[in-house]
Symmetry: C4
Subunit: 310 residues, 4 copies
Amino acid sequence: MSDNLKEKIKEFGLGTKTINNGHRTLNKDGSFNVTKTNLPFLERFNFFHSLISMPWWQFFSIILLGYFVINTFFACLYLWIGVEHLTGIQGISKTDKFLEAFFFSAQTITTLGYGRVAPIGILANIVAAIESMLGLLSFALATGMVYGRFSKPSPKIKYSSHGVIAPFNTINAFMFKIVNPHANQLLEVEAKLTLSMKKDDFGAREFYGLDLQIPKVVFFPYMWTIVHPIEKDSPLFGLDPESFLEKDVEFMVTIKAFDESFSQTVYSRSSYKAAEINWGEKFTNTVKFENGRMTVDVSRLDETEKAVLN
Amino acid sequence: MSDNLKEKIKEFGLGTKTINNGHRTLNKDGSFNVTKTNLPFLERFNFFHSLISMPWWQFFSIILLGYFVINTFFACLYLWIGVEHLTGIQGISKTDKFLEAFFFSAQTITTLGYGRVAPIGILANIVAAIESMLGLLSFALATGMVYGRFSKPSPKIKYSSHGVIAPFNTINAFMFKIVNPHANQLLEVEAKLTLSMKKDDFGAREFYGLDLQIPKVVFFPYMWTIVHPIEKDSPLFGLDPESFLEKDVEFMVTIKAFDESFSQTVYSRSSYKAAEINWGEKFTNTVKFENGRMTVDVSRLDETEKAVLN
Amino acid sequence: MSDNLKEKIKEFGLGTKTINNGHRTLNKDGSFNVTKTNLPFLERFNFFHSLISMPWWQFFSIILLGYFVINTFFACLYLWIGVEHLTGIQGISKTDKFLEAFFFSAQTITTLGYGRVAPIGILANIVAAIESMLGLLSFALATGMVYGRFSKPSPKIKYSSHGVIAPFNTINAFMFKIVNPHANQLLEVEAKLTLSMKKDDFGAREFYGLDLQIPKVVFFPYMWTIVHPIEKDSPLFGLDPESFLEKDVEFMVTIKAFDESFSQTVYSRSSYKAAEINWGEKFTNTVKFENGRMTVDVSRLDETEKAVLN
Amino acid sequence: MSDNLKEKIKEFGLGTKTINNGHRTLNKDGSFNVTKTNLPFLERFNFFHSLISMPWWQFFSIILLGYFVINTFFACLYLWIGVEHLTGIQGISKTDKFLEAFFFSAQTITTLGYGRVAPIGILANIVAAIESMLGLLSFALATGMVYGRFSKPSPKIKYSSHGVIAPFNTINAFMFKIVNPHANQLLEVEAKLTLSMKKDDFGAREFYGLDLQIPKVVFFPYMWTIVHPIEKDSPLFGLDPESFLEKDVEFMVTIKAFDESFSQTVYSRSSYKAAEINWGEKFTNTVKFENGRMTVDVSRLDETEKAVLN
């Protein structure tokens, strides 16, 4: 391994250990194909991370469940104190009393407070005063998470489904194409491309940072074709489609950008395996000038045409 | 194209494709003159981006509409359950009943809860309990967006309406001037200047990063004249006003800064086309010392005087 | 001016224009001694910046005033609709009616809703429904600002009241000292030192970036003495106390750091004029080892001792 | 001291002053072993920092206490105005009246407002109107802090309990190992390693920045062994276990990363003293391929095996 390559290998947190053939390190959706085991019990939970990452239906289910559980708890408390300490309770059966206490609790925890039912006496009043305060604090968490989820930047960059090996000047290059399908501007967009391939027949792997023709763009209004020219010092130099499969190559992409809507730095990841790379094709130009404006046809992101390799 | 220029071309996400003559890539207000078409249906909507970017009147209209729709929905629900499950309802006609249910819903969703009208019985109470909880969550979104819009940093940098070609030491330079009209401090202000011009008669364009005399300033209390000296290696070298128009030049400006009030990084963009550039003028010094303080006259941002070019 | 100095001059947004003698560009508290005039009317106001920067008493006065004005407006509206549309109103005189409407408005806008007074009829209900919604939205702004002000990072770095010219190895150096008096950690603390001095007798000024012995520290748990060694290429080389006064020197300091409590980047600024610089003194070491811990005596920040200059 | 080392010493805010033997500058948990004394009275308090750093039980105690104190204050105010201005008060004894006023205050400050007790007359209404507004503002602080604490990024990076001196190619190296036990992704993870050791017998210390084989990784899905190769220019070159103890070495680690869940930059710190370094051991590879996924066994973070030093 040349010094130059050694240098390039120095930037990834992936190690050069044995990885089974065909295994994908980075999934298409940007998650890692990794399991962490034997975590200490308490560190298995990361509430904020879970609550902000789970699907919306799951998030709302948890809030509804929590709302139900807390109100049940307080309803029991009011029952235990005695519903005679709540004015306006009309139920006679146990169930009716519980339900009225439950709804009184809901009216208290949301600080709704119709007042048709209201606490009388010290105990009921203490519980209600504490419940309304807890209600404000715990709804602060719930509503904070709702807004936090809603305002969390998630760059929905679309990647071309395939990479290509295309002619580039007098040599060839590995290329893929991205587009930001949304109206929000991404600025100072930076791409990093990492190659992982088998070093030997025992399954040990090596990682290389690949030089990009243009690693960073100031604006990103159109599509962007990201190009790694296969120069002589590229680890791809001299390889053919068969050796791509044999060496089980995986191209890992990281895109970093500043999202102007969210005023925050965002990251996006994806990867291409050997089978997702088309040799001898190049991406079609899909940006056109129409009605006085440049027009980007997002649906043609994957469009390629035949090209003779150098 | 020299290697030096090739290097400079490497920093923009704009491509070197055919662009029609006279077309403006970057509008004066910093938006891009680009349309994206054929988006997959679901990706056409980016609620957060839309809600934070739309004008205030539109934003409030949407909230009012949402408030009206949700209350109508719940009013219907209460009517369907039967208004006899709401105490204090006095209306007899259908319309009156609907209106009372509507206003009860409004009192519930805002957690106002006067209690003149209050739910009785299981069904009405369940709906009210859920409505008040949904009210807290959905108002969290609305109020979060109100504050998010209000606290969104938007650097209101003012650009001189024209750029100039002015003498600079023994050569000439392209200059424009900016000022921060507000009281908030912008720190570590960084300017990037990109030139776009026609490469040949077929309309293909090239992009160049232009070197600035001072690309970054620590403070920005006064005005700042941004200067690109037209050295021999500048793509502007040897051009005259006619070739500016012929080559359909467009100077694209990006300003990046840290806004101290908002504690956030902010971006601003603008552009100058050939027709917006005055040859043989220079900006007047409009910073004066008055009453023991430096004084910046913002209204004189565009003031220039004649200057003999080198 | 040597090329080296020219290079150094390239980093400030201050211009090299005429500044009156004795004028301070940067105040001790970090604000700039600059007035902006002739702003377009609409751009004079930057509500967020004003609301987040003003003193707390002023902020609360504005909120109280707004609360009063809005409730007065809605009280008038309810009076105009007719207080007979509010149940529970007992006042007979005009004043009493107005006051009851005013307090009803307050109970509505805060979503308190006791219900002793409650709206009856369409008009009063519509106004109350809108008021409670507006209340939620406008209190979102008020409470957002309260928390925004409270959680706004403001690095309270203390600067030594004087700078010194002290011996440093075989030469002399300009030094000043800073401390973070609070318990929160500042990380990756970076100092920038700018010198402003008169170029000639006509009052024109020049600006220089001064090299620091240590421009950036990873941690900042103790005090930090920031040192500019007066090497041969320093613009201070060969100057004496008289020429400091004559040339009206001003040392402008910018400190940039990451505040771990606030998880944000923060800035602090200050300056030293010629009269605030003591020649032939050096800062005393005020860090001691006591009871198994390092101890920093913040009150001794300004302590110096005599030192013979090289 | 060579120029090279002098250069390396330039990056820490720690000074080269006398520190007692065996003293730890940086604690294992990342806090500094430093006390600041003689702070000006007003600067001793940094409410935001305290409220966001204290344990949850302490935080809730303060909120509960504040809630109790404020309600007591307003209860006294209502008593002083006269409980006859509150409808629905049924208590006769002083205590009962106070309690009813207290609970009324709680219902007002949380904007609960049952209305069983409600204010009548100007004074009581004014106080209630102000209390409900203050309630909204002060609960904004409390709930903001609750969410701020919950959403504060705290990278729970786990460090191996010991560092090792292990063989590395043809030389030896200082190594330690870290893992992110949580599911959230850390990106662009950067390590900085600082060595502190005694310069002479008088206890003065020197600080060195140590070069790392890989100072920054793009991803961090597995474990990461951080390696400082002991080359000839390393300050560790030629030292043995005895001199480690004698010179009282301390390795200080700073990890900086971008936390994708929180969309924020986070820092983590720890340190290793001479006694926490094992000579002639190397870390075991604990990443395995199981069931089609890479598996990281977090509990084996500290696992080492014997290794013959070069």
